[in-house]
């Protein structure tokens, strides 16, 4: 027995030392817990992956700006796609069990809507990183959006297209954001004097677009507005557009930036050249803030990976979270945090100047007209002009009138 005692004592001492060490740390250190509920598996796995990578990168580069002793802990949860029940359950666990002080995420609109009431009850600020339906921010006073709304890109696109093309056809994925962009484009295009000659809604995860595109070809429009979920669906559409001869027939392809995602461009071939889109971000924008962002990203994650809309949402949201923490000097209070978010401004985001509209807590940002071009043998989304400056969500503006 005595032989065991000696090492036992040694361990006990070591333990005590460790406890003292971590104990002394705990007195001054304060950990801010941030729960991220987004999609990390399934066809939309990019949504969460890029956002969280950007958040971690921001945290790493700016850690010294936090008040002394304050640390950030990200608790990342996978909702697997548009699963409102799952998202709600995960958010609930994060709030009740893990006691997170801030929520972020929501790749999909239905998931954001499901989490909204929880954010209200718990008075937990909830930063939207993707979900793009206009209605989202109205569902809780604790929601602030750092991504975009579908109408923000589709409405300026419609007005722009009407000036150049007389007839248009719309092809959108048959779910919330698709319908939103169809509506916004159609009303802006018609209001500016264009004629819609046809529209079709397709299942969101379609890969083979030939039958739908044949309808478009039959209708012979001047311009085709498309919204399909970013990813291989967009690649499939682009291939069909070229293969079926729509490009040769002189039909112009336009849409929100989702149809030529920055991270997917490498997979599209030259058929995508000339596609014109409106979006709030391009990985190739030559703003200094974006160049610095891209450089930091590629240094951390490799030059073969691109920044994209999910990344810039995560980056800006983390910037806002840092401001909340700094304003509260390491203490996060839900209502005070919302005050910080409502007056949030960043003149120097990678996507240009952005702010949060204090009335709607929705993002206010520039929209850029971009064209796919080949630069040094690679396809890039080149920003041609700023088509709208400090644009609020057009749908909410409409609702007020």
């Amino acid at each position: 027995m005595t032989r065991i005692k000696a090492p036992g004592l040694f361990f006990a001492l070591a333990f005590a030392g460790l406890a003292m060490f971590s104990g002394s740390g705990a007195v001054s250190a304060q950990t801010i817990k941030i729960g991220v509920v987004s999609t990390f598996s399934g066809p939309a796995a990019n949504f969460g992956e890029y956002s969280v990578k950007a958040m971690q990168l921001y945290e790493k580069l700016h850690a010294s700006e936090l008040p002394a002793g304050v640390k950030i802990e990200l608790l990342v949860r996978d909702d697997g796609g548009p699963n409102p029940d799952k998202a709600k359950q995960l958010a609930q666990e994060l709030i009740v069990r893990d006691k997170v002080q801030i929520l972020a995420g929501a790749g999909f609109t239905p998931n954001a809507m499901a989490i909204a009431p929880l954010a209200t009850q718990a008075k937990t600020p909830f930063l939207i990183l993707n979900a793009g339906a206009s209605v989202v921010t109205t569902k809780s006073p604790y929601i602030a959006r750092f991504s975009f709304t579908m109408a923000q890109s589709a409405a300026p696109l419609g007005s722009w297209a009407a000036k150049k093309y007389k007839t248009a056809f719309t092809l959108v994925a048959d779910y919330g954001p698709g319908v939103d962009s169809e509506t916004a484009f159609t009303s802006a295009y018609s209001a500016s004097g264009g004629t819609i000659v046809g529209s079709v809604r397709v299942p969101p995860m379609t890969l083979e677009y030939a039958p739908f595109l044949q309808r478009v070809k039959d209708a012979k429009p001047d311009v085709l507005m498309v919204f399909v979920p970013a990813g291989k669906t967009a690649t499939g559409l682009m291939k069909g557009f070229v293969d079926l001869g729509l490009k040769d027939a002189g039909i112009k392809l336009v849409g929100p930036g989702d149809i030529v995602p920055d991270e997917e461009l490498a997979n599209m071939d030259d058929g995508a050249i000339g596609v014109t889109t409106v979006y709030h971000y391009s990985a190739w924008a030559d703003r200094p803030a974006n160049k610095a962002f891209v450089e930091a990203w590629q240094k951390e994650y490799g030059t073969s990976t691109q920044t994209n809309t999910f990344a810039v949402s995560g980056w800006d949201a983390m910037d806002a979270i840092f401001q909340i923490i700094k304003a509260g000097n390491g203490v996060v209070d839900g209502d005070k945090a919302m005050e910080v978010l409502k007056s949030y401004k960043d003149a120097n985001s990678p996507r240009g100047a952005i702010s949060i509209d204090p009335e709607t807590r929705d993002i206010v940002q520039n929209e850029y007209l971009r064209e796919v071009r080949k630069v040094d043998g690679k396809l890039e989304n080149i920003e041609l002009e700023t088509i709208a400056t400090a644009l609020k969500d057009p749908v909410k503006d409409q609702m007020k009138k």
């Binding site: 399934g42 066809p43 796995a45 990019n46 992956e49 048959d174 079709v200 809604r201 397709v202 299942p203 995860m205 379609t206 890969l207 083979e208 030939a210 039958p211 739908f212 044949q214 309808r215 070809k217 039959d218 990813g231 291989k232 690649t235 499939g236 291939k239 293969d243 079926l244 001869g245 040769d248 991270e263 997917e264 490498a266 997979n267 071939d269």
Partner: protein, 294 residues
């Protein structure tokens, strides 16, 4: 152009796309039909081999600049060889097992495969760089057809013909047919069914890889491929009937063309038509169009 000839032109174009889609489905599914019919093995993980074929093609083309035909051959061969190891090491243990065990095993295999694919290739689709001679369009009788799709159709028919020769006219084919019809009898007259299974499994997996590679430009190789397209492979096999060669061929043509036409005429319901047609067909013929009535 008058409306009638416009409609005709559209229908020709749609039919063409339907057939090329059908050929991809056929080449991938025919192996599943044979292995299911012969070994009675419910191998839901068949799509894993198709995905592997697509990835091999992508790596060959994009990373090593291997010519397209050689890359197709590489996809077929590498996956065939790998599948022999899987068959000997894993599948063979479940030959006598019940269907539930086999289904659970092969679903488990799917999840392992997609996790590995995601680890290795990430969440984005693998790039497919087609050679220039397969890009662009070919003019036939006044219609423009995409060269790649035309190649897929010609290739699909050639494969169907080659398989027909192999199964109907060769000694190996006679063994396979015998084993499909009555495994116990085939064994008792001296056919080494164990070896035959391995060979057939390798052939079937190789065909899946070939189909996956051939169709990679339409069905992009991506980590969740085996689950995403599983339903279509199963529809082709069950509508065609297990263990039949021409069954999947006819079924794939039916499914491919019906799916494409349905989406063209009724875009809002197009995605459902194919399932309704499958239910109807199977109610009418529970063993598929050409399945042996057991």
């Amino acid at each position: 152009m008058n409306p009638v000839s416009d409609l005709a032109a559209s229908l020709i174009s749609i039919g063409f796309y339907g057939i090329s889609y059908a050929m991809i489905l056929y080449v991938i599914s025919v192996g599943l039909s044979i292995t299911m019919g012969m070994m009675g093995f419910v191998n839901l993980a068949h799509g894993v081999f198709a995905m592997a074929g697509g990835f091999v093609l992508s790596i060959c083309l994009a990373r090593y600049g291997i010519p397209f035909p050689l890359a197709l051959a590489a996809a077929f061969l590498s996956v065939s060889v790998a599948s022999v190891a899987l068959e000997r090491g894993l599948y063979a243990r479940f030959y006598g097992a019940g269907e539930l065990t086999q289904v659970l095993f092969s679903i488990g295999l799917i999840y392992v495969a997609i996790a590995l694919a995601r680890l290795e290739f990430g969440t984005q689709a693998a790039p497919i760089m087609l050679p220039d001679y397969l890009k662009g369009q070919v003019k036939i009788l006044g219609h423009d057809f995409p060269t790649y799709r035309l190649f897929v159709i010609v290739f699909g028919f050639a494969i169907a013909f080659a398989l027909w020769i192999a199964i109907e006219k060769t000694r190996f084919g006679a063994f396979v047919r015998a084993a499909v019809d009555n495994r116990a009898m085939a064994q008792s007259i001296g056919i080494d069914t164990r070896r035959l299974f391995t060979l057939t499994f390798a052939l079937g997996s190789g065909m899946a890889a070939l189909g996956g590679a051939l169709g990679a430009d339409v069905l992009a190789p991506q980590w969740n491929y085996p689950l995403e397209h599983l339903v279509y492979f199963l529809i082709v096999v069950s509508v065609g009937g297990f263990g039949s060669l021409h069954g999947p061929f006819v079924a794939a043509l039916l499914i491919g063309i019906a799916d494409t036409l349905g989406k063209y005429w009724f875009p809002e319901f197009g995605a459902f038509l194919i399932y309704a047609a499958t239910i109807g067909l199977l109610l009418w013929r529970p063993h598929g169009l050409f399945g042996a009535c057991s």
